[in-house]
């Protein structure tokens, strides 16, 4: 019991340490002096131009108004709930896509026999723009969680699949040969050679997948949902609330940026061996 307790504190300490490293990393890499020299004038201009009447304030809400609206959305219109349901849809789609795309990509990159069977199919399906799937998905799956998750899945699946495939396929044959000489089985090769080699490609694919997945999330919520950020955005349009639309857009931008930062951190953690280069 005692030992378990110390273990848990250790785990918690580790989590806290990682979190602090993550956030200091974000702060150091993004909020630099150079960034603020660009960012602050833009904010000042954005605030000043509508207030001075250079651009109509009804069409361009200044940041102070957007901040007010954001607070109003947060307190009175359950913004957190909308963000939550959007993130649920997004992460379900992302998870399904990652869990399916990475193994298929590895198998296609590893084996010529499987590649010849599967790759042409994906190469024909992939160029179909994901939003083109929206009408048929609504008819087949109806409006609801499965449809939104499927559309996010479509956005994430192909970039992750092709990047994984490329990373595994491009493994230097000499690495494979040097493992085979020692008698490594194909399973060991996949686990210890192909996968570590493809890791940075996979993370890159997931990054692109996150961007495309967010696109598909908003598309799916705009046409087939009664909650979520995308729905809030469309509803704001119907009420001509530009300030709300801007607040929603900024929220989306923040979510995307934050997820990419998380992926960068994961990449550094996983591909530690590349850092020294």
């Amino acid at each position: 019991m005692d030992r378990k307790l110390t273990y848990e504190t250790k785990g918690l300490n580790l989590v806290l340490k990682e979190l602090s490293a993550f956030f200091t990393g974000i702060a150091k890499n993004n909020f630099t002096v150079e960034f603020f020299t660009v960012f602050v004038p833009i904010i000042i201009l954005w605030e000043a131009l509508p207030r001075l009447g250079v651009v109509p304030p009804t069409l361009v809400p200044p940041p102070s108004v957007v901040a007010e609206t954001f607070w109003d959305l947060l307190v009175n219109h359950d913004l957190i709930g909308h963000v939550g349901i959007s993130l649920l849809r997004f992460f379900l789609g992302l998870a399904v896509a990652i869990v399916t795309a990475i193994p298929i990509g590895i198998l296609m990159g590893w084996n010529m026999f499987l590649r010849r069977h599967a790759l042409p199919l994906f190469q024909i399906l992939a160029p179909i723009p994901s939003p083109a799937w929206v009408p048929i998905t609504i008819i087949l799956l109806g409006i609801g969680l499965p449809m939104q998750v499927f559309l996010v899945f479509l956005g994430v699946f192909y970039p992750v699949l092709f990047d994984t495939y490329q990373g595994v396929k491009d493994t230097d044959p000499r690495y494979i040969a040097s493992a085979r000489v020692f008698g490594a089985s194909e399973l060991t090769l996949i686990k210890r050679v192909y996968l570590p080699n493809a890791l940075s490609f996979i993370v890159m694919g997931v990054k692109i997948g996150i961007a495309l997945g967010l696109v598909m999330l908003i598309v799916s919520e705009m046409v087939g949902a009664h909650s979520g950020i995308g729905w809030l955005l469309v509803e704001s349009k119907d009420f001509f609330r530009i300030d709300r639309m801007v607040a929603c857009m900024l929220t989306l931008g923040f979510i995307g940026w934050f997820l990419i930062e998380v992926m960068k951190y994961i990449e550094i953690k996983l591909a530690l061996w590349k850092v020294g280069r």
């Binding site: 040097s178 000489v181 008698g183 089985s185 280069r277």
Partner: protein, 291 residues
């Protein structure tokens, strides 16, 4: 004992005119390497000596001929008739013939190979690289750390266990490769220009360390290099390859006692002799063909 019988390797390539063409990389090479022998293979660049080594390691199938290691066939030769090709393709349509097994590691205790570069995995530290082969050998977990450190010490890498290959110099990386090769306790070590990318001073040190390891552990070593001096300093026999297609041009025994001196007269004479063979092959002129 390694016995290569009439190894021929033929590659189809596309020539600059866009036409299919054949290149014979290795032509009818027979070579016998006795147990505990140190054989060096030299030859001009692109003469197929690396291909020959990979065929001996079982990483490429020969077009013709067989390699036997202790009387055991390494890889069956490629098919030649249309019917044979069909059978071969059906047999290996899922897994390539050089793959070991789908699920099970089959540790090869008879052979280890060291490449010029890309030999150690950059995503593993020096220690993990040795762990990799120890795991393949199914060494129990408790002994791995001790054994890995032992082999790293043997090649003079104590203190660099937890460094990634990118943090090591070229010479140290090859030392990791050597430790990894030794860790499987092989009878035969095949080395494919292992020290070509290492600076001259580090190479001399590596040569000496390799010799002392070879003398103390009684391994059979086949050492491919393009450096005649290195070959003469290390080997019992030097196999000279001709330019493409690679054939055995000459086998020169180096009956000099060890430790040898790099600048000694005997080595100088042998080097001159090999150099003349090179010259003759390149230009067709006999310069001073005394021997």
């Amino acid at each position: 004992m390694i016995e290569a019988r009439k190894i021929t390797k033929f590659f189809p390539v596309i020539n600059p005119q866009g036409l299919a063409e054949g290149i014979t990389a290795v032509l009818s090479v027979s070579l016998k390497v006795e147990e505990g022998e140190f054989v060096a293979v030299v030859g001009p660049t692109g003469c197929g000596k690396s291909t020959f080594l990979e065929i001996m390691a079982g990483l490429q199938a020969p077009t013709e001929g067989e390699v036997y290691i202790d009387g055991k066939l390494v890889l069956e030769p490629l098919p030649s008739t249309r019917k044979e090709i069909e059978i071969y393709q059906r047999k290996y349509r899922f897994l390539s013939p050089i793959a070991n097994d789908l699920w099970r590691d089959i540790p090869k205790s008879d052979i280890a190979m060291i490449f010029q570069d890309y030999a150690v995995f950059p995503w593993m530290t020096a220690l993990e690289n040795v762990f990799f082969t120890l795991t393949l050998r199914r060494v129990p977990k408790g002994e791995r750390s001790y054994l890995a450190r032992k082999y790293l010490n043997l090649v003079g890498l104590s203190g660099a266990e937890n460094k990634y290959p990118s943090q090591l110099s070229g010479g140290m990386r090859q030392r990791v490769a050597l430790a990894r090769a030794l860790s499987v306790e092989p009878k035969i070590i095949l080395m494919d220009e292992p020290f070509a990318a290492v600076d001259a001073l580090a190479r001399e040190k590596l040569n000496e360390d390799l010799l002392s390891i070879w003398q103390s552990m009684k391994k059979t070593i086949v050492f491919v290099t393009h450096d005649i001096n290195e070959a003469l300093y290390l080997a019992d026999r030097v196999v000279v390859f001709s330019p493409q297609p690679g054939t055995v041009r000459n086998i020169i025994p180096v009956n000099l006692p060890r430790p040898r001196k790099r600048a000694s007269r005997e080595i100088g004479e042998l080097r001159e002799r090999i150099w003349q063979i090179y010259q003759y092959d390149a230009t067709g002129e006999i310069i001073d063909y005394v021997i």
